[in-house]
Symmetry: C2
Subunit: 529 residues, 2 copies
């Protein structure tokens, strides 16, 4: 018998499932949980999801085939796709309905010939065809601790590569700092560290912290601060090679440290000190990952597993409760129809779901109505990779003032001739509203104009701009929830279960969609039991 | 005429060279330099190398074909290969002699079937065959500002990908810290930032820095420190989600911050505070890169360009001066012989070069004799990627006590079943000497035993260990120079020119080899002129 390589062999899953069923018949859920730990079937990461996965897998393994209900999965984004995939692996009858003609929902990767449809405009992507010439219009990075999503990538052999989130050669720019000159992040960060270490060393040497730092450890603390800030022997920050080296030095001669930036200018700026800390965040710190070739590789890998039970291009027009379950009404451009099921797991975003006639409870309807949304926007261009050749920028993010806020350089295809540059990414708010209200051409003009503050030659290189304003996209109508997840919607509502990243504290992350999907599946098994 | 795609078209180079020759004939070097800037032929990076490249390209472009001398290139590491490639592009007659049977020198990537030969031992690599199952026994990362090396990667279409140097999920471990428990780097770094920000805020609030921080900016500075350290409203560091979230939280419920580590324990440790700053360094900060599939992709790409003029497996036995140039004596296992040339560019490492009979000047001989070497060591294992599944570590480096110092996780092939783990990397010093003196099996035992302090299950996963101690490798006899570059060897010595990373301040980096090679070529053109 071949060794189980961990490559998602259904053979291995089947025998494990049988084994767990036998254990469960004797020792119940806790015995099964212990067995799963021993067998290495549980993943690290968010404990809530481990528990959900355990409840789902144990519950499903204890159901006889004839007791498995028919489940309707509404929505074919990451939540709906992973739910459908789990249902299939567990042998449940199910069908998935998705309004758009493709899987993935907001996990939309745009390439040559892709169309971005917004209310009032359609844009066709004119990038050249090419493995690395893609634009992740929705989610574009995965944290290393998004373990449930990454487990699907492993299981379905979606190739992963590092996503460069922290690039010290990328720029920090503001019209109101450094005379409007973009500075490599390494200069700003080295100056902040230098100033903080210098000020603290000064206070310590003046005896201001003697109650915190014993006389015996003062020398050690000062030594640590000197290295932390790259300070001089007299504990001053006079610049550092960490900030880069001066032109005309290095190589055959020693590199001369870039001088310090004025820390007052940094610390008094409304944005820059916070920008410099961004990559320290829980969901933003290294290692970040991406699928090679585009984020939608994950959605398609899941979709390929469930394609015989998935219906694309079918808009749900009503979600009804029946005496014994649910009735889903839907339509294509040509026909209308309905299908019945025992349960429905609804992953259609609340922004859209609230406008579909339904038989949810009034508490659920009210919770769905209360979800508030961010309105993020992005724009991307094809360009020769001048940022690599001329600026030594390989992946990562430059930051500027809020009109375009960020430019993202591709982490894939490094060294190739052409690449896709994200010319702006706005998380939401008033600048995003303004961007949303522009025509596609006006967005291009804005991004090229503002981007020239960072890269003066931008417009000479970048072309074929294509943009998205998520609040304008039908079947999505927003980027991600900004209100807290509803505990009402985390629980079943009769035959209805809900899923989507908006039900987690990982809002806007695909991992949140997976975690919410596992929760819905866990709840489903308890509805049945 | 097709557009020049920047993909190293020799057609483009030829017409540019002719154009520059015409300009040079009229305006001399400075006119050519300006033209090159305008044409975008100069790269950013170390200005010294830009100047060398310019001197070489302009000088070479101004030579008539019949004036180009025959050049012997001794050594087929990165320095020798890039020199040979430049000579070829410029139409010079040349030959390259390399003692080993492969190009690359220290840039040696070990795969299934590769042999690591040391004085007294040969190890054959037993890794499975596979694109990602390689061990970079020598250099293993490239800084984003190693622009001259990266330019060759672009020109020769060597696929590049991010190298994860800074992974906040990798561990920092010491027997003398945290009760010997490995801690994710994010916990250590968040605690250091928190402690530094908390102490400084306290000093500021006590008025200890009023001469540095004006009353008007105090609030702004405190606000910056709160975000810098993720402090509480009362400016205390009580842990942070930046350090990770507590087990059992996150996902469906809010993530609870990991508590603070005792900063006294960190600051009083002899190594940990410095380890945490490592990736701030000029040559270590993001973005770092690697060729996809192994570092030797660069060496082979260069070697493929010059294969008709390269002789492998030929050991140089004497480097002689003749009336009109040089005579290179050499031997294979079968035969001995000699070849004459007008000039020799000697890239054989000083550690080896000083033992070859030669006619260098006494000043050069003395400089070569004075070069001191580091004795780094590495060991690698094949393993299933348990660190990804169980520890959420994707690439990067864990640090531990000096017996093995570092473990490196692969940055390529993320999510695959198997990977190559570097079980130890010692830069040099007494621990490296001890490691060097062990048998291959004893090195394996040491690395598995010490590595278990970080990954208790290491020995159950890792196998097929293979190690290298660079001071023991024939034709290399060391890792990199630790003494300062010799200005004597940066200049020509009669018909001899020298190259190698040891002649730069980028010792141990392939970029140093390239920079030194461009310097030798620049000097060559001036010898001829």
């Amino acid at each position: 018998m071949p060794q189980n390589t961990g490559k998602g062999s259904s053979e291995g899953s089947q025998s494990r499932r049988e084994f767990l069923q036998r254990i469960g018949a004797v020792g119940g859920v806790s015995a099964v949980y212990q067995a799963m730990v021993t067998m290495g079937l549980l993943l690290p990461g968010d404990a809530g999801a481990i528990e959900s996965r355990q409840r789902w897998q144990v519950g499903a393994s204890q159901l006889a085939q004839e007791d498995k209900p028919l489940v309707a999965v509404l929505g074919g984004g990451i939540a709906g796709l992973c739910i459908a995939y789990e249902l299939k692996k567990a042998g449940f009858p199910f069908f998935l309905v998705e309004a758009q003609g493709r899987p993935g929902g907001r996990s939309h990767t745009v390439r040559n010939g892709s169309v971005i449809s917004e209310v009032g405009s359609d844009q066709t992507c004119l990038f050249d065809a090419g493995e690395e010439l893609y634009f992740n219009a929705g989610p574009a990075r995965i944290s290393h601790h998004h373990s449930n999503l990454l487990a699907y990538c492993r299981e379905l052999e979606v190739a992963l590569e590092p996503f460069v989130n922290d690039n010290r050669a990328a720029y920090i720019h503001s019209a109101s700092a450094f005379a409007g000159q973009p500075k490599p992040a390494k200069q700003v960060i080295a100056s902040m560290r230098g100033a903080i270490a210098e000020l603290l060393a000064k206070a310590i040497n003046a005896g201001a912290l003697d109650t915190d730092i014993g006389f015996g450890e003062r020398a050690a603390v000062l030594q640590v601060l000197r290295d932390y800030g790259d300070l001089s022997l007299s504990y001053q920050y006079n610049g550092s090679t960490r900030a880069g080296i001066a032109p005309g030095t290095g190589g055959l001669s020693p590199g001369a440290a870039e001088p310090a930036l004025d820390w007052h200018e940094i610390f008094n700026h409304p944005d820059i000190p916070f920008i410099a800390n961004f990559v320290e965040g829980y969901n933003q710190s290294a290692t970040m990952l991406q699928p090679r070739g585009g984020m939608d590789r994950i959605a398609y890998a899941l979709a390929n597993q469930v394609q015989e039970s998935a219906y694309y291009g079918v808009e749900v027009t009503a979600i009804r409760r029946t005496a014994s379950g649910v009735r889903i009404e839907g339509r294509t451009p040509e026909v209308s129809g309905a299908a019945e099921a025992d349960y429905a797991i609804v992953t259609i975003p609340p922004s859209v779901r609230r406008n579909i006639p339904n038989d949810f409870s009034s508490a659920a309807r009210s919770a769905i109505g209360a979800v508030q949304y961010a309105n993020p926007t992005k724009i991307a261009f094809q360009s020769d990779r001048f940022w690599e050749r001329e600026d030594e920028i390989y992946g990562g993010i430059s930051w500027t003032d809020p009109d375009i806020l960020q430019m993202w350089y591709p982490s894939g295809g490094l060294g190739q001739a052409q690449g896709i540059l994200v010319g702006s990414y706005l998380f939401g708010g008033s600048n995003a509203s303004q961007f949303t209200n522009l025509t596609p051409q006006a967005r291009i003009d804005l991004a090229l104009n503002a981007g020239a503050e960072i890269h003066p030659s931008l417009a000479a290189h970048a072309s074929r701009g294509i943009s998205i304003a998520w609040s304008n996209v039908p079947y999505t109508l927003g980027g991600w929830a900004i209100s807290s997840p509803s505990s009402i919607l985390q629980a079943p509502d009769g035959p209805f279960l809900f899923a989507g990243d908006h039900l987690t504290y990982l809002r806007g992350w695909q991992e949140g969609a997976v975690v919410s999907g596992l929760n819905a599946l866990a709840n489903l098994t308890e509805l049945i039991a």
